[in-house]
């Protein structure tokens, strides 16, 4: 039976150097939704995405995509990392970056075909970047770079898109383009999970929400979760305690070692 959830996370705990960055996260996300992950700085939002994608080791917990292990359904998942993680000076054009999204389906030892290039151009066109396809990636503005990375995810033709802060530090045009595209994707049946930093727009952009602050404060449909009560709990003072606790735990561990 195919699972109706695109993502099930159970008791996921992640530690950086003995200090817990995410405690016992428990999240289920239904298919065909746009989910925002929201929380204050240092709340473990990126950590959450990286941990479910196996990019950083989790201390405990289990993650299922479409009811399966990540390795089995990898081809159905596309990930758009935060823009800081790459070398902008790298000699690579926008089109070449997008073609990278096809590498897994192309396979080792085989050349990039014309079909792959055509698909890349199509994706670039969808994000409105076709006219800059041959520009070096670092010469583009922040918003344009973000659109190129989105295009790279598009050519993977995935069912679930995981995006780390796609709206951070971009211009108004890009924000509009990305949002429209995300809605199109949802219309066509895909699911999207985005780390988001801007509270005022959350309710407009997403239909599901995960409030995160070192643990999952709340998750579910927007109208249930996006309440003053939950937000205060997420951003408010009480959770400072949790981070202090994590600090002192780390110190204790350091002392013992």
């Amino acid at each position: 039976m195919p699972d109706s959830n695109c993502l099930n996370v159970n008791h996921l705990t992640v530690c950086y150097d003995r200090k817990p960055a995410l405690w016992e996260a428990q999240v289920s996300i239904p298919q065909g939704t746009m989910t925002g992950i929201v929380g204050p700085n240092g709340a473990g939002k990126s950590t959450f995405l990286k941990a479910i994608l196996d990019l950083i080791p989790a201390t405990s917990g289990s993650v299922k995509f479409f009811g399966e292990d990540y390795r089995k359904v990898r081809h159905r998942i596309a990930y758009v990392p935060q823009r800081e993680s790459v070398d902008w000076d790298y000699p690579i054009s926008a089109r070449e970056v997008v073609v990278m999204g096809r590498y897994r389906s192309i396979g080792l030892f085989r050349r990039v075909s014309r079909e792959d290039r055509r698909k890349a151009d199509e994706a670039l066109d969808r994000v409105g970047m076709l006219d800059r396809a041959d520009s070096q990636i670092g010469s583009l503005s922040g918003g344009q770079q973000q659109r190129v990375f989105l295009a790279r995810a598009l050519v993977q033709e995935a069912d679930l898109y995981l995006m780390d802060e796609p709206f951070a530090g971009i211009d108004a045009t890009t924000e509009r383009v990305i949002l429209e595209l995300m809605r199109d994707l949802r219309e066509s049946g895909a699911s999207l999970v985005c780390v988001h930093h801007d509270l005022p727009t959350v309710a407009d952009y997403f239909d599901h929400l995960v409030l995160l602050n070192l643990r999952v404060v709340a998750s579910g449909a927007m109208n249930e979760v996006f309440t003053r009560e939950q937000l205060t709990q997420c951003y408010g003072g009480r959770l400072d305690l949790l981070s202090k606790l994590a600090d002192s735990l780390a110190k204790l561990e350091a002392l013992r070692s």
Partner: protein, 304 residues
């Protein structure tokens, strides 16, 4: 084995040099410039050759000045390549020090071939010959020991005098600038100190093992403490320990073990500087593994 006065002096010299090296080393390590030390150790060559051509001797002020200038030039070039052409820092360092070394090598071959700067001598160093020359001329304190003491004294004075500035600069150069600590000046002074130490230690330990003595003891100490003053003191102690142990092992143990393992006859003493860095390496690995094992202890596991 027969212990005599020469061995005592060798031990004293090795300890002095090891401790002198550690002082700039701590700050090089903290400001992430370990490989810069390695670069400087090579880049001083043209300075040495020019200094020699000017003064006509070895171990003269001209030679030291030349070396310091060449060492600083290396860091200036590195910065320039990075800023002006956007070359990645590691690559910029690689370009500037290999080029300076090549220039030095060419100058030496073409202009000063009579100079006794054997490449093997520069690269490997030889504590024993450094002392022997003096001993043969008659007793007293050998020059090499004096030079080691001189380097240690200069470095101690420098670190004592600029401790505050060095702390700020190595920790946070931008902040250093705002409180008027002159980070650029401090940086270049540190580089000059590194170059000076390199040249003085060359003869005894060779250009590459100088870097071992500069970097490895502070790295070991940094695994054990986070306080800067403790770090400096601990590094000095570790350097002393490694120098003494390394020297003693080099008298026979290391060489015999190796040749014995291969089924060869006993060989006696081996290169002392090499022995010291091997001991440094062993202590480093042992410390790191002990630390790891302590973390593996089930009592100390992170909460899950």
């Amino acid at each position: 084995m027969n212990w005599n006065i020469i061995d005592t002096w060798l031990l004293v010299t090795a300890s002095l040099i090891a401790m002198a090296c550690v002082l700039p080393g701590v700050f090089l390590l903290l400001s992430r410039q370990s490989m810069v030390a390695h670069g400087i150790a090579h880049a001083v060559l043209p300075g040495i050759v020019i200094g020699h051509l000017v003064s006509g001797g070895i171990e003269t002020p001209a030679l030291l000045t030349g070396a310091i200038i060449a060492g600083i030039l290396c860091t200036v070039f590195t910065r320039f390549l990075h800023r002006f052409s956007g070359v990645e820092e590691g690559a910029a360092l690689g370009i500037s020090f290999t080029t300076l070394f090549a220039i030095g090598l060419i100058m030496q071959r073409l202009l000063a071939d009579h100079v006794h700067i054997e490449p093997s001598h520069v690269l490997f160093g030889n504590l024993e010959t450094a002392i022997f020359q003096v001993i043969l001329e008659g007793g007293g304190v050998p020059d090499a020991a004096w030079r080691g003491l001189f380097a240690l004294a200069i470095n101690l004075v420098f670190v004592g005098f600029f401790f505050k500035e060095l702390t700020i600069t190595t920790f946070d150069a931008a902040h250093g600038d705002t409180v008027g600590a002159r980070p650029r000046l401090t940086y270049y002074l540190l580089m000059a100190m590194t170059a000076l130490t390199c040249v003085i230690a060359f003869e005894a330990v060779g250009s590459i093992l100088v870097v071992a003595m500069m970097i490895v003891p502070p790295a070991i100490a940094s695994l054990l403490t986070k306080k800067l003053k403790t770090l400096v003191a601990l590094s000095l102690l570790i350097a002393l320990f490694c120098a003494v142990t390394g020297y003693l092992l080099s008298l026979g143990f290391l060489g015999d073990t190796i040749s014995g393992a291969m089924g060869f006859p006993k060989v006696g003493s081996t290169n002392a500087a090499g022995g010291i860095s091997v001991v440094c390496g062993i202590v480093f690995v042992a410390t790191l593994i002990t630390k790891k094992l302590a973390n593996r202890n089930p009592r100390n596991r992170p909460i899950r």
